[in-house]
Each structure stands twice: as C-alpha cells, then as structure tokens.
Assembly symmetry: C2
Homo-oligomer: 457 residues x 2
Amino acid sequence: MNGDLGFREEDLCLLMDLYELTMCASYFENKRFEPATFDLFVRKLPPNRSYLLLAGLEHVLRFIEKFRFRDEHLEYLRRQGFREDFLNYLRNFKFTGDVWAIPEGTVVFPNEPLIRVTAPIIEAQLLETFILNTINLQTTIATKASRIVYAAKGRPVIEFGLRREHGIDAGMKVARASYIAGCIGTSNVLAGMKYGIPIFGTMAHSFIMFFGDEVASFKAFARTFPDKSIFLIDTFDTLKGAENAIKAAKELEKNGFKLQGVRLDSGDLAGLSKKVRRMLNENGLNYVKILASGDLDEYRIDELLNSGAEIDSFGVGTKLGTSADRPYVDIIYKLSEKMNDKGEFQPIMKLSEGKATLPGRKQVFRFKDEHGKFMRDVIALEDEEVDGEPLLVKVIEKGNIIYDYPSIEDIRKRALENLSRLPDKYKKLVRPAEYPVQISLKLKKLMNDLERRLKGV
Amino acid sequence: MNGDLGFREEDLCLLMDLYELTMCASYFENKRFEPATFDLFVRKLPPNRSYLLLAGLEHVLRFIEKFRFRDEHLEYLRRQGFREDFLNYLRNFKFTGDVWAIPEGTVVFPNEPLIRVTAPIIEAQLLETFILNTINLQTTIATKASRIVYAAKGRPVIEFGLRREHGIDAGMKVARASYIAGCIGTSNVLAGMKYGIPIFGTMAHSFIMFFGDEVASFKAFARTFPDKSIFLIDTFDTLKGAENAIKAAKELEKNGFKLQGVRLDSGDLAGLSKKVRRMLNENGLNYVKILASGDLDEYRIDELLNSGAEIDSFGVGTKLGTSADRPYVDIIYKLSEKMNDKGEFQPIMKLSEGKATLPGRKQVFRFKDEHGKFMRDVIALEDEEVDGEPLLVKVIEKGNIIYDYPSIEDIRKRALENLSRLPDKYKKLVRPAEYPVQISLKLKKLMNDLERRLKGV
C-alpha cells in the first residue's frame, strides 16, 4: 500500500474487470483486431425517475487520452499468467479510435447511446469498466441532485454529504455532479479548490458542546466570522437556541454586522422553522435566513414545503451523496457492430427478452415544441436524415481529443437549461410520465431484418 | 483539473467539510487549544443488520500520519477569507494526539466507540470528515459482503461490482473490504495488484457476440486459457449454451485440459443450474463448476440455495459494491470530554432524545461463553476494571503510529474468526436478534450525574 490513497493516477490502466484483459488476450491470440462499435446506454430507469442527467464525460475522455500501461503493471499481469506477446501489445497500447458522446449536462433517456466507441475490438473493450464506473457515479448523483433541487422550488440546495460518500473520489465527483445539477455549492473544500465550486460551512454540535453553552459559542464564532455566521441552534432546544441566536445577532448589529443565518438540524423542521421565523421577525431579524439539514432528500423537502416550512435553503447530505434510494443506474456497454471480412461494418443485435440491444451506428435526435420544450427523442441510424437536434457529437477522432472541454459553469448552464426545457410531468418526484423515445423506421427495419436472420426465418 | 483523477494524495488535507475549518479558525482566534476526546460510533444499525464488520482503520491512520497543509492549499484558504495567523498555524499543523481504535475485521455494535481521538481540539476536529468518510465506506461494504458470504453457505463469493461502484477509490476499497469480509477475490485488477487480492474474470456477452456464435467463441477463448476457462452460456439460450460448452469441454479434454466452469448470468438461475448440472454430469463433466451472477445479493442467494440451485460459486456486483439496500451507516464523530481550566478532563454528554451521547473516555469489553462465542459487550469507562476482553487498542501515541499494520490476510482471518464466534441468531438475513450491549454501572452513574447537572436538578 502506498499511503492513504493507495494508488496513483498512472495506475488507472488496471482499474478494470479482469475479464476485459482475458477477452483481449484471447482476441489478440486469435488475431482478431477488427474494429467494432460499443454503445454506452441505460436499459431501465431507477424507480421514480423518468430521465437521467448525464455527467462524467470529461473524466472519461481524460482517462482515454492518458491510457497507457507501465512496466510495473505489465509485470503484475505477467505474474497473473498473461503471455509475453500480449504484454508487448499492451506496452505499446494507445487508443486510436473514434468516440462520439452526448455532452455532460444533457437530459437523456433509456436506450439512447450516451457514448459510442468505434475502435479495434481490443481498444474498445479495454475502456469498458472505466467508462461504466465514471458515468454511473456522476449520472446517478447528478440525476438525484436535480430531483432535490427541483423539490426545493428555487431555494438554494448545498451538497453536504462528503462524510457518507463512497470514498475520496466519490466525495469529489459527487460535489461536481451535484453542482452541475443545480446545487449552489458543496461543503467539500477540496472540491471547491479543484473544481471552482462555491463552498459552504456552518458549525457542528461539537463546537457548542465544547464551549458548553450556546451564547458563548455563538459569540466566539461571530468574533471570527462577523459577517458570515450561520448558528446551529438545535443542540439543546431549538427555540431556546433561536433566542440565543437572536441575542448574538443583536450584538452583531451593534457592531455593524448582520447574522447570516441559523441552521435547524433535527426535530419537526416544518413547525420549528415557522416558529423560528416568527421569533426572528419579531426581533427585526427578517434578513436572517433559515437553513435546514438532517436526513433530507427530495421527498422530505417536498413534504416540508407542502406543510409550509419557512426554510430558505437546504443542506442535503447522505441521501444525495449516495443516491440512497437507488445508488446506481442500470448502465451497460454493448457491442452494436463490427467490421466483416469485406471491410464493411456489420450491425450486431442481441435478441434476448428484456435484454435486447439496438444494432448499428446510431444517433439520437431530439424534438422540441414551439416553446422549446422537449417533446420526444428518436434513436436512428447515424446516416439517416432526421429533423430533430442530433445529441451525439464527435469528441475523439483517431485517438485524439477534438472536444473543447466546457467549463463546469457551462455544463451547469446546459443542465439547468435542459431541465427547464423538460416538461414538469417528467419531473414529478413520484410516478413521473414516461418520455417518448422512438426508434426510427430505418432502424426498426434493420432490427426486423436481423431478427429474421437470427431466427433463421 | 489535473488529469482523470483530478487530485493527488497530498491534496487530501482539504478533503473535509468547510465547517471543520471555520470551527477551527474560531477556536484558534478565541485561543481555545484545550485537548478533547472524540468518539467515532454508529448510532443505529441499517435495516436487517445486527452487527457491523469494521474496516478502514489502516487508511485512517495513514492519512493522520501524513496530514499536512501545503502552500497551494493555504493559498486557496486565504482566498476563501481565512486569516493569516490561522493559516500560519495550519502551515505547521501536525497531529500530536493519541488515538485508540478497534482493529479492522472486528464485529462491532451500536454506540461502541470504534475510534477514540484525544488531542488539542483543533487537531481532533480536523480529522472528522476523513475518518467518517473512510470508516463509513469500508464498514458499510464489509458488513454487506459478510452477509452475502454468509448467505452463500461456504460457496465462494467473488466481488464483481467495479463498474457500478462509486468512483475509483470506492472501486479499490470495496474490493479490499469485501475480501476482508470473506469474498475470495475481486474482478478489479488494480485492487489485485495493490492489495494482493486474488483476481477473477470470465468473459462478457460481447465476446460471444463478436465471434457471432458460441462454439467459435468458446474455442477461441479456450485456445488462450486452456486450463482456466469459464464460459458464459446465457448469451442466446442457456441450455444450448451448455451444449456448446460441453462440446468445447470435450475438445479440451482431448488435449489434456479441463474446462473450469460455466457462468449463468440471467433467467431462472435455480432451474437452469439444475438442468445444466445434469447435462454436464451426463457428459462426464462433473468437475466443471457452475458460477452464477446477475443482480445477486444475500436475499437472492438465500432464495436460490433454498430452492436447490446447483451453483458452486457466486459473482456479486452492484448490490454488494454499493450496499444497495442501505448504502451507508449512521456513523458519527462526537465530543465526549475536554480539559477544563484545572487541567482535568471533564466528561461531556449530549442529552437530546434519540441523539444522546456517552460521556467520558471509554473502553469496550467483550464477553465470550465457554465455547468462545460472543455473548455480550459492555461499554465502560477506560479506567474501570471489567472482566471481558478490551477491544480498543492504542494505535497513535503523541502523533506517532505505534500500531503494526496487520496484513490484509490477517485482517481477513480476524474477520472470519469474529464472524464465526458471532452466534447465528445475530446473522439472520432478516430480523436478526439484537446483540446485548450494556453500559457499565460506573458509566451509568456518570451519565446520571451529568444529566442531573445539565437539567439543573
């Protein structure tokens, strides 16, 4: 083990399921190098979701760009029984194929190719695990975060989940994906530094327990942050805590400062927020905001707002940071064509019930109504002429990145615009409507032809 | 962004919630440096769990050992408004306190202090987020994995979840925690290399689709791995797949090799496994193992075995790798004492209903019956004389690690021994019995005294 992280960036070449390597060793030994195309897509949506908010592409592309094997990795594979000629192939490995992808921050739907990789079979296969791992995490979280932001009806949501997120990398990527999806920031300082995301923090119960009483702790904190204190007021009794916060706020006022807010972290948040709001207002502290936290998610926020909670912003942790009601999406990476002996690409389709795949090289077209709202998508063959807006763009050509990475702010803008164009019926928190995704006539015909051939009819 | 990982090991000093830093800036400005003790513990168990299998300590300790701030991090904090004198304090930061911990691979229960940190308040506070994040992930997964291994009743379980685990670090730590908990290995090649965990892999559907027919693909694979092939047989039709595997196995036999196994990945796994077993046996292939995968967890494995499935081993992915039914534990880090003006440690207790904490510096004692089975635990004050085996051991003294890191094999041995000593009623997959965790008389008296004082009685 090397230190606390335990791996370095250059080790990521081996962050894959062993079967990627065993299959590739066999392709190599059987001299199978034909180009093939793989599609990344989601078969079925998680419960209560009718869309996904796509995120993670930048990390996929940066991985592909740098994907090399080093001596120490080859040495490990040698010890696992891989043969010398295959290891030599890996030594010179560099991705040389083409990649098309739907940009991050786009709202997407089941069966739509999200990333399309065309490359010699070994190259395309070796990317599988990393692409799945990256897009799964960031898309799962961006989707969850977008629901929470939607439930908050315009009130700011801050991502507070680092302590329960799945390790270091998840801590970083959850902050990123949540910000893209509309959270206004994160508690994760490193994510703030690395991604330029606004960071937020208040105080923990331990701070108050350490001072032993609330007034002393609030005053001590206000001494350090006179213009940006948010007092946590539920350590002993929320309403007494509110009284103490009011005292401290009044003292701040004398010195020309304003208390920024108070935080409720337990109890009947709806009822308490109304009482605390009234207490603050009665003391001329209408400007003091109420932040709520504690076991929140989209369902709970919706309940709170429906019962008239006077909450100005939400800190959402564990259930956002782990997408607790469904911590993954059914994302897969499937073969859709390969080159035949004549040098022509030949579509491939899997038939099995519930696990069928769409053959050939495809594009996704989106149709909007006269107000710019999303109406329906059509999955078609790449060379079909379809009216809608094509979503997949070329991001890697012959192994070279030809994509200008958008800034995180631009990705966030795209996400918020996409979400605003998605009609509300698809954003309902429970049992949303199903968005229409159609198969083009030409693709349908291809599928019928292939099915007849496969069944030998 | 620096490449695909986006952060380096030395950046982990900022992997924390902002409030750790705002509280510490305020402690610093208010000249509060008194030592204090924090306990890491779990308040409530996840559903259907009666125990947790502790994991992650090694990464916590390695983090504490290396925890330093560098210029670039201080520069970022300066831009966030932190003051120069506090930044200078951070520039020279080094942990100088004591840490006690229960070793990894120990079975633990709610309210038991799992890690106990005693240090000047700022030092103890700054560790909070990293400790929570690390122990939460590995303990959540080790616990889930131990349940899956238990359900498999001695049949090998392999961790297959990398593609759906939450990012890179989770991919690594899930493999580690699952191995500790009794899985025999992982599909994650990098985890194999870094932790010395056995790695396993078979083939994907794409391999068969690429060749277009099963016999060709099985033969191609067997050419490369004549002595360790596991054929995936459900791509088209599992029973036809079994016939094709038998053909290929017979050819392998002619060349003096044995097919290792076949993998079922969909359909009625119980029924199919029985039919495939019979087909294999009728062809003298009794030695060929049947591996099952596809949406498995402890509940599904239990069902399969109860319905007589003839499965020799299980590949378990997403639901293990995300602990899908509960992707976190309610783990917290709470103040339990601080030094007063007289230089004496003074116990601290939080009273709030359902969120009470245990005051003072504590030890956990475990009692076994005459067969070595775990009977009950007692949480007591550190200086009490209690008969049972004390679980917390000193791992850091005055900032120096004094713990010999056990090897992953030794941690795994401890875990398997601990699990074997835990009576079956606590390991039931659904509604297990509640393990008795008692509070010592002296600790109870302290709590009563503090409660009376807090309530002003």
